[in-house]
């Protein structure tokens, strides 16, 4: 038998290949182990090293050597335990002795395919460049030509309509005793419409989010409505809703999503007779901007008791939402059948609209909806949207930016004279760089009736570490160090839902102030400037031309 040859560095990766490199400071570390205790992926570990110094202190060469074994914190050179750069170590280190540093030379994607499977992650498109939305500027400022408004002094009414708006001449109106009234006996269908705040919290499921995160968002939304008087709504995501919420008065602030997985829908249907309020709307999910054509996936490690109960599935199984609805094979069928069923469930009292991922074919969907009297709107989710789990390639390379997609759809409605009839909701990258109000205002002025946010609120309300440099992005494996996207109580109990709710309130109040700061100089205080594209400019001619706005430099 031949002795096994002892290899040393063969096929081992150097730290230079890793996306983040841990900078650890020996001189500051007190070896308390806080960093290694919290590292979500065990990318750092304590170990020992030998230090050896050979000295010569005499007047002639008099060698003496000192050997010392020291304890250090070391980064693991295993791609399966790569440092994600989340910085939880930095957060907990009492001595500022450790922090991950982005390595621009990383060859991460070359290696992150062990076992022959592509790299999966959570988060959003890794593209730190400035998005089109962030390049748009508001250039039509009312100075002396129009009366300017003062955001701090004037009263504003920032609201939008969710639902199909019937033209007055089509309304069954009658005059009774000199007063205009609806003719209740008319068989003309009057679509349900909700007046809501134009920024809504987009669909993030129970399951994708941890209980305190989801509840924190929900509570923040309820607070905004009931204490602040801001009619902000939130979409449930596709993981069902807790029956306690379904049967509470707060349901009216929630849009219930139905997706191809139909998770939790038996529980929702069972709750209908017990509902004291109708939901704000029903969203039918056909696509997700972050990963178009890729279905939803909740990995087995996140399907614990709570999720199993709420979704009505066994524990510890992968839950796939296929990229297509299983019983719908054409756009007519998909749209008509689904909208009809969902409307019927709530007696046609609730707006029902589909959500699709940004795509060149969005107009085709839109035109189908325009012909369907029960369609309450269309939500388009652009490529910069976030997700809990997807293949990296789907996130990084698939999808359509929201700006031109939304604009194209809006202008199409304008051609048909239906721009005030069918609301468009834009999503995907709103607030990507933190400019929530500016991005929202830009989309509104390009033609959106409202916008939906997801990743932004996770960052702003729960301190999510994720960014476009692939920081953290562990949402898919349920190891979220912030407790946002995990079902592990040891992790999610780090999150205080009261604090999340408070941040939601602060975020929306601040965004409201900022929207006023944008709308006031443009002379708008009561009507949302939907499609007011003459107020927008961009410093790029091609973008200007594509969006039909002016070029300013």
């Amino acid at each position: 038998m031949e002795p096994a040859s002892r290899l040393d560095h063969n096929h081992k990766l150097s730290l230079r290949e890793f996306p983040y490199i841990i900078r650890w400071r020996d001189d500051r570390c007190k070896r308390c182990g806080s960093c290694t205790a919290v590292c979500p992926v065990k990318a750092i570990e304590p170990t020992v090293k030998v230090m050896r110094v050979v000295r010569s202190e005499g007047p002639v060469p008099t060698p003496s050597s000192v050997r010392q074994v020291v304890q250090i914190v070391e980064q693991v050179k295993d791609m399966e335990r790569y440092c994600t750069g989340c910085g939880t170590c930095t957060l907990v280190c009492p001595n500022e002795a450790i922090e991950p540093e982005l390595n621009p030379q990383s060859k991460f994607l070359h290696y992150k395919n062990k076992g022959g499977d592509g790299y999966k992650r959570g988060g959003r498109r890794n593209d730190p460049s400035v998005s089109t939305l962030d390049r748009l500027k508001f250039t039509r400022i009312s100075m002396l030509t129009d009366p300017a408004l003062d955001a701090g002094r004037h009263e504003f009414r920032i609201r939008t309509l969710l639902g199909r708006v019937t033209a007055p001449e089509q309304m069954p109106l009658q005059v009774v005793d000199g007063r205009l009234q609806l003719d209740r006996r008319s068989e003309t269908f009057i679509p349900p419409v909700r007046e809501i705040y134009p920024i809504m919290i987009g669909s993030m499921s129970v399951g994708a989010l941890s209980p305190p995160m989801w509840e924190g968002l929900a509570m923040g939304v309820a607070y905004l409505n009931e204490v602040e008087g801001m009619p902000v709504v939130m979409c449930s995501g596709e993981g069902g809703m807790p029956p306690r919420l379904l049967r509470s008065r707060y349901l009216k602030y929630f849009i219930i999503q139905i997706a191809s997985g139909y998770f939790g829908w038996d529980e929702i249907v069972r709750s209908i007779p017990h509902m004291v309020e109708d939901p704000a709307a029903i969203e039918i999910k056909y696509g997700q901007g972050a990963k178009p054509g890729d279905g939803g996936l909740l990995m087995a490690q996140k399907v614990l008791k709570l999720i199993s109960k709420i979704r009505g599935v066994p524990q510890f199984v992968d839950l796939a939402s296929p990229p297509t609805h299983q019983t719908k094979y054409s756009i007519e069928e998909a749209v008509a059948k689904m909208i009809q069923s969902m409307s019927m469930a709530w007696g046609f009292r609730v707006p029902v609209y589909p959500k699709i991922s940004g795509t060149k074919t969005a107009k085709a969907v839109l035109n189908n909806l325009a012909r369907n009297p029960y369609a309450a709107g269309l939500c388009i989710d652009g490529e910069d949207g976030g997700t809990g789990a997807a293949y990296n390639v789907s996130m990084d390379k698939m999808g359509h930016p929201i700006a031109s997609n939304l604009r194209e759809c809006y202008l199409d409605l304008v051609k048909q004279g239906k721009q005030n009839e069918l609301p468009l909701i834009a999503a995907g990258g709103v607030g990507k760089k933190g400019n929530l109000a500016a991005n929202a205002a830009a989309l509104i002025m390009l033609g959106a009736s409202g916008v939906a946010i997801g990743k932004y609120i996770m960052q702003a309300a729960a301190d999510c570490f994720g960014d476009e440099y692939n920081r953290c992005n562990l949402c898919n494996v349920g190891k979220c160090p912030r407790g946002i996207t995990t079902q592990d109580p040891k992790l999610y109990r780090r999150l205080d839902s009261d604090k999340v709710a408070e941040r939601v309130v602060e975020v929306f109040k601040a965004a409201d102030t900022e929207l006023k700061k944008i709308f006031a100089p443009m002379g708008r205080s009561t009507e949302l400037p939907i499609g007011m594209s003459d107020g927008l400019s961009v410093d790029d001619k091609a973008i200007a031309e594509r969006l039909g706005i002016s070029y300013a430099c």
């Binding site: 038998m1 007190k30 182990g33 205790a37 090293k49 701090g152 109990r493």
Partner: protein, 807 residues
């Protein structure tokens, strides 16, 4: 009359300078006028422009006029900008006052408007006292910083906005007898406003819609009902005594100025009739709660009342609904350490087919128990000096972690040191009978183990000597015969019934089978394998060659050229022996990369053996003394030894013992197709002596369990990964062998060496050493102190601590 004349003249700008000269000359007479000096805003039906009227006022003041009457017709800014001279300038405005009356008015200017005034009265007032015996329209007193505005009527919208207070001067005052319009006092930064609320235009609201937006300073006293104010900016208060003093004192001149003294009693009836609005200080604003109610209150008072206690998910959660810190202890830790002493096998024991725990021998040496250490090995092998010490390739040493630092532990030498030890003590007899067929290393090992456990063993050996291939085939120069003999004599101490010269045939086998509970077949492979090629009848097998050599037969090889087909370790033994017999050259050929390694190969090549490959034999020309290969080459060959392995002779076996390609088929515990028959060693496939000994030991355990009615397989541990053992603690060691030295060199892989490193390292003081009765010890973790950081596991020299998920 002069003035009138002058006004007319001034209408033409080309005569302005001349006109001024005239004024200068006539200054004294003008000032001496007894009746008020009058400037008319309309002359001969022509409205005088604001610019001219202003010039006339300024000229008049310059010429000493201290009291004047303006008959206004909407002129802008009347009465302002009269730079202070220390004297009082009184201006009475009649007619229609224009916008911004008294704007930028200065100290010493007193303006009385006999009627209402238009927008922005007192704009940026810097000290003028303005009395309006009527209403003021929008924007009165906008940005006023000093001075007084008395209004006999009410104010329009946006009055008192942006008023200031300059600390160098008295604050501005504005008094409104009736009420004011919407957006009053926006961004007010200083000054005192008084709204008396007498017959207000809106009886429900004397301050108009949304007053005080952005107000940061000053005070507003008002009397009468209001409908809200900017609560974000100002607070509503009762008047203090000081307020009341100020108000009642200053009320008199106001009422006197607007000719409403009759209201004094009513307005000063009670301070309860009045309220004041004051701006919140920046400190108050900073200290203010950002939200109307905390979200925690909202949860308690609204949310949980509607959705149930604990929130929307409470019914599904089985943990406390409290918040956890990032650094946790006890059951909230994500990971926890385990003192997994001896959970894993060290590489040495794992690599040894007999699983000899050499690390335990090192531990005993370190504890000063050298004798116990040497004795330990006899529990595992009957032939430590022979096998470990001499002929074994020492797989243990090849895998020894210490070898990654300098040299492996000298386990072979430790084996040799056991040579003179007596046999260990046997267990009490069990009366179980076991037959072992074959007295080679496998059979000896099995018989040794079973005898130690107290079983009765019959050992059958075909030849006249025990030892099998060790005795018969291994060159004496590699194994001094006396070592084997010494160890066989120790074996004899155990009382195994040895039946020498007992070749087993089918009949004898059947008798043995019937007479024993268990039969262990360890007959080895005793027939050299021969590959058929032309001339192969003239070759000799390695088995025969070596056996003859060990039995004393002399091969006359002086000056001969020997070819060995098959360059494995047996081939190397053949080559060595051939040289010993005087061969001139020995060439070992192989069809593939030779399998020879270690001591055998070193011995053979040091004597001159060449190894050539790949060579596929075609034929042997016995007469021409040449061996030909398929590649066309040939070599001189006086003698050809074929060393391509041995095969067993199994003619004694009954058909229900299954064989595969000539070997006895066994399962993972070396059991044959007959549950009471086991087979070990070369009879199941060729291996090393140590494999045979290992199988003998493990099969003895299996058999023991089976006979004692506790059937199970021997426990096999996983090997500890090298990286878990921290070599960093050990320096390169030089020097000669001594048992003590080896004891300290051992890294004690996977076995605690009781060094206290973990205890000293733990920052949280969670690890302590607990000693049990009988001298055993363990390291334990205080769950309430441990945070699960993994330092103990990371720094443990032996890799004993391991981190596991805390579930």
């Amino acid at each position: 009359m002069r003035a009138k004349k002058k006004t007319v003249k001034s209408k033409a700008s080309d005569v302005k300078l001349k006109g001024r000269k005239q004024q200068t000359k006539t200054a004294m007479p003008l000032a001496a006028q007894s009746s008020p000096f009058t400037i008319r805003g309309n002359v001969n039906g022509q409205r005088v422009p604001s610019r001219i009227l202003e010039e006339q006022i300024q000229e008049a003041v310059k010429h000493g006029v201290r009291e004047m009457r303006i008959m206004a017709q909407g002129q802008h800014g009347i009465g302002g900008r009269i730079w202070p001279s220390g004297e009082i300038i009184k201006i009475t405005v009649e007619g229609t006052a224009g916008q911004r009356l008294g704007s930028m008015g200065m100290d010493g200017t007193e303006i009385l408007v006999k009627g209402s005034a238009s927008d922005d009265v007192g704009w940026i007032n810097c000290g003028a006292k303005i009395t309006v015996l009527g209403d003021v329209t929008n924007g009165a007193f906008n940005a006023a910083a000093q001075g007084i505005l008395y209004v006999q009527g009410g104010g329009g919208a946006r009055c008192d906005t942006m008023t200031k207070r300059n600390p160098r001067f008295e604050p501005p005052q504005s008094w409104y007898f009736r009420g004011v319009g919407d957006s009053f006092a926006e961004f007010k930064a200083g000054g005192i406003a008084v709204i008396c609320g007498v017959r207000p235009r809106n009886p429900e609201n004397v301050l108009g819609y949304r007053p005080c937006v952005g107000m940061v300073g000053g005070t507003i006293y008002f009397r009468g009902p209001i409908r809200g104010y900017s609560e974000r900016d100002v607070k509503l208060l009762d008047l203090t005594d000081q307020d009341w003093d100020w108000l009642t004192t200053n009320m008199k001149p106001f009422l006197a100025a607007i000719d409403r003294m009759s209201y004094y009693e009513e307005l000063t009836r009670s301070s309860q009739d009045w309220k004041k609005l004051m701006a919140y200080t920046p400190q108050e604003k900073m200290a203010r709660k950002k939200l109307h109610m905390s979200t925690t209150e909202f949860r308690k008072n609204s949310w949980e009342k509607a959705v149930g206690p604990g929130g929307i998910f409470a019914e599904y959660l089985d943990h406390d609904l409290t918040i956890l810190p990032y650094i946790t202890t006890g059951k909230e830790r994500r990971n926890k350490p385990l003192w997994a002493n001896e959970k894993y096998s060290p590489p040495c024991a794992y690599a040894c087919p007999t699983l000899i725990p050499s690390h335990q021998r090192a531990t005993l040496i370190r504890q000063g128990l050298l004798q116990e250490s040497l004795e330990l090995v006899l529990r595992y092998s009957p032939l430590p000096a022979t096998v470990c010490g001499q002929i074994c390739p020492n797989l243990c040493m090849n895998s020894c972690t210490r070898g990654l630092i300098d040299k492996p532990l000298a386990i072979d030498k430790l084996g040799s040191m056991a040579l003179d030890l007596p046999a260990p003590r046997k267990e009490k007899p069990t009366n179980h009978r076991v037959a072992v067929i074959g007295g080679g290393p496998g059979g000896l090992s099995a018989a040794w183990q079973l005898a130690l456990k107290g079983h009765t063993v019959d050992l059958y050996e075909a030849s006249g000597k025990l030892g099998g291939k060790i005795e018969h085939c291994i060159p004496r120069e590699r194994l001094p015969h006396q070592i084997l003999e010494k160890e066989l004599s120790r074996f004899a101490e155990l009382g195994v019934h040895v039946h020498l010269n007992t070749l087993i045939d089918r009949k004898k086998y059947d008798a043995i089978y019937k007479g024993h509970e268990i039969v262990i077949i360890a007959v080895g492979a005793q027939k050299g394998r021969v590959i058929a090629f032309p001339g192969s009848e003239h070759v000799i097998t390695a088995y025969d060659f070596l056996k003859e050599a060990n039995s004393g037969k002399i091969h006359a090889l002086k000056g001969k050229r020997v070819i060995v087909i098959g360059a494995g370790n047996v081939g190397m033994d053949v080559a060595s022996e051939a040289y010993n017999f005087g061969a001139d050259s020995v060439i070992a050929v192989d069809i593939q990369k030779p399998a020879a390694f270690g001591k055998e190969m070193e011995a053979a090549t040091s004597k001159g053996t060449q190894i050539v490959w790949p060579k596929l034999t075609e034929r042997y020309d016995h007469t021409g003394k040449k061996i030909h290969f398929k590649d066309g080459s040939s070599l001189d060959a006086d003698m050809v030894v074929i060393s391509v392995g041995d095969v067993p002779v199994l003619d004694f076996l009954p058909p229900d013992i299954h064989t595969e390609r000539g070997w006895i088929a066994v399962n993972n515990v070396n059991q044959t197709s007959d549950v009471k028959v086991f087979a070990i060693g070369d009879v199941t496939g060729l291996g090393l002596v140590t494999h045979a000994i290992g199988q003998g030991r493990l099969v003895a355990e299996t058999v023991h369990y089976q006979m004692m009615h506790a059937p199970r397989a021997p426990e096999l541990k996983q090997v500890i990964p090298y990286e878990k053992v921290k070599r960093e603690y050990y320096d390169v060691c030089t020097g000669d062998f001594s048992a003590e030295r080896e004891g300290h060199k051992c890294l004690s892989c996977a076995a605690c060496r009781d060094c206290h490193m973990c205890e000293s390292t733990c920052y949280w003081g969670a690890i302590s050493r607990v000693e049990h009765e009988g001298g055993s010890y363990e390291y334990v973790v205080d769950e309430e102190k441990c945070i699960g950081c993994g330092f103990c596991a990371g720094i443990c020299p032996c890799g004993v601590w391991e981190m596991v998920e805390n579930i």
